[in-house]
Subunit: 273 residues, 2 copies
C-alpha cells in the first residue's frame, strides 16, 4: 500500500483511527465460545464489520495469537483475510534481529501472511531492519518513543550531544528507508515530545497507540502530530474491542469508534482546508 | 532451571557450548525432505543426538519456525521435546512490548512451550520485561551489546556521562531481576567490550552468539568472559548444523562441536583449578 493510498483513504473517510485486534480468547463474550468453533475469528469478523466505517487500519497484536500456539496462528491468518481490501494492516510484532533472521520475520509477515506493515525494534540498528525494506509497498514501523514507564530506561537516556536516545534513534532510523516505507511508533502522552519528533521527522507517518476515549487528549495529539499528508494513525485496542461484553459487543465497539472518528474529523477538517 | 544446575552441568561436561537450531527447511539435506513427513523435526532430532555430548544448551531461533506458519510452530514444539532432560533451552525470540503483551509472549514460550529462557529486547524498558520474571526457574536473556554493524546506531550512542547506551542499558537491566534469572546477549567481537561488561556485571551469565571455528577468538573470549560460575554460554548455529550437507550431516556437526568443546575445555580447566 502506498503513502498516497493511505492519505487518500484518510481524506475520504475523515478518520485516522486504527482498530487494534488484541483479541484475547479469555475476554471475548461467552456466547461466541459456546456457539462457534473459531470464536476468535468470529469475534474479529464482527468487530471488523461493525468498525470499518470509522477506521482506516487494523492492527493485529501478534502476541495474542502466538500465545495460543498453532490454533492462534490459524486464527491470525483467517482473521487477516476478513479485513476488506483497501484498509492498512499492521502486524504488531516488535521484531528485530540479525539480518538473516529478520529476513525470515519479513517473510513471515509479508509473504506467509500478507500484512502491509510490521512493527520493529531499533535496538540492533540498521542491518537488523534492512531485510524488511526489500518488499514493494510494504511498511516498516519502528519503535521511536513509547509511553510506558520503562521508556525512561533506554529511550530517555541523555546523550553527550544534549538530546535523548529516542531522538537520535529516530534521526538515524529515518535514513534506513524513506517517508514512503517507514513509520514510527510514538506514544501519545506528552505534547512537547510529539512537537520535538515532528521537528526531526516532519513528513513521516506516526503510529500512536494507547489513545482512549478522552476527546481533549485526542485533539491535542492530532494538533501536534498531523502534517500535510495527515501523517498519523491513532490506535485504540481494548477501549474498542471490549467496550461491550454481551451479545451486542460489536455495536458497542462501533459506538466508540464513531465517537473517536467524529472527534478526529474536527482536526482532519483543518488539514483539508 | 537454576543457576547452580547450569554451573554443575558445565563443570560435568566441560563445555559452555550452545547449539543453535536455526533450522532452515531450504538448507537441510534433500534426503530428509524426500523420506520424512517432518524433515525439520528429523533434522533437529539427528543434530541433537549427535551433538549432545559436547554442549549444555540448545537455542531455537524462533524466526526460522515462525516463517513457515502453522507447520513451523508444530515443528518447533515437537523439536523442543526432543531435547533431553537437563539441557538448558533458549527461545531466541527478541521479544519485548508493553506489559500485557509481554505477559502473553511469556505465556507462549514458558507455558505453551516449556523453554527455560527467552531472549528479549530492552528498548521499551523495565515494565516491558517484568512479565517474563513471573516464572520460577525461567530466565530472561536481555540484548546487551550485539556484534552486527547496526550496533553503532543505538547501542553505541555516546551518553552525557561519558559511557555508551549499551553500558547504561545493561546496568539498569541488571536490576530488573538478579543473577539467578537474568542473562545478557553479548556479541563476542571485541575483547575490550567484554572486559567492560564484566566490570558492570561480573556475576551474570552471558550468551555469546556468532562464534565460529576459530580457536584463537574462542580462547580470548573465554578468557575475558568466564567468571567463577563459568558465566558463559557460547552459541554457534550455522557453523554446526550446516557443517555437512549429505547423509552424514549429523556426524559433521558432531565433529565441529567436539573441536569446540575441546578448545573450551582448556579455559574451563583454568576456572576449575
Amino acid at each position: 500500500m502506498q503513502r498516497s493510498d493511505i492519505t487518500a483513504l484518510i481524506r475520504e473517510k475523515q478518520t485516522v483511527l486504527c482498530v487494534g485486534l488484541d483479541t484475547d480468547i479469555e475476554r471475548i463474550p461467552d456466547f461466541l465460545k459456546q456457539n462457534y468453533d473459531r470464536p476468535v475469528v468470529e469475534f474479529n469478523r464482527r468487530i471488523i464489520e461493525a468498525t470499518r466505517p470509522y477506521c482506516v487500519a487494523y492492527k493485529f497484536n501478534i502476541a495474542f495469537y502466538e500465545a495460543r500456539g498453532v490454533s492462534g496462528w490459524q486464527d491470525l491468518g483467517d482473521s487477516l483475510t476478513l479485513v476488506p481490501e483497501g484498509f492498512f494492516t499492521i502486524a504488531d510484532a516488535k521484531r528485530g534481529d540479525i539480518g538473516n533472521t529478520s529476513a525470515l520475520y519479513a517473510r513471515t509477515f509479508f509473504d506467509t501472511y500478507n500484512f502491509d506493515s510490521i512493527t520493529v525494534s531499533p535496538y540492533m540498528g540498521s542491518d537488523s531492519l534492512e531485510p524488511f525494506y526489500g518488499y514493494t509497498d510494504k511498511w516498516v514501523i519502528i519503535l521511536g518513543l513509547t509511553s510506558n514507564r520503562g521508556s525512561e530506561d533506554v529511550q530517555m537516556q541523555r546523550l553527550a550531544n544534549g538530546g535523548y536516545v529516542y531522538e537520535e534513534t529516530i534521526r538515524r532510523a529515518a535514513a534506513y528507508g524513506d517517508v514512503d516505507n517507514t513509520m514510527f511508533v510514538v506514544g501519545a502522552t506528552k505534547s512537547s515530545y510529539i512537537q520535538r519528533i515532528r521537528e526531526i521527522i516532519p513528513d513521516h507517518f506516526l503510529l500512536m497507540p494507547g489513545i482512549g476515549k478522552q476527546g481533549g487528549d485526542l485533539q491535542a495529539v492530532m494538533s501536534d502530530g498531523l502534517n500535510d499528508h495527515y501523517g498519523l494513525l491513532i490506535n485504540s485496542s481494548r477501549g474498542i474491542i471490549y467496550a461491550g461484553t454481551g451479545l451486542n459487543f460489536d455495536r458497542a465497539a462501533a459506538d466508540v469508534c464513531k465517537t473517536l472518528k467524529e472527534e478526529m474529523q474536527i482536526s482532519i477538517y483543518r488539514v483539508d482546508k
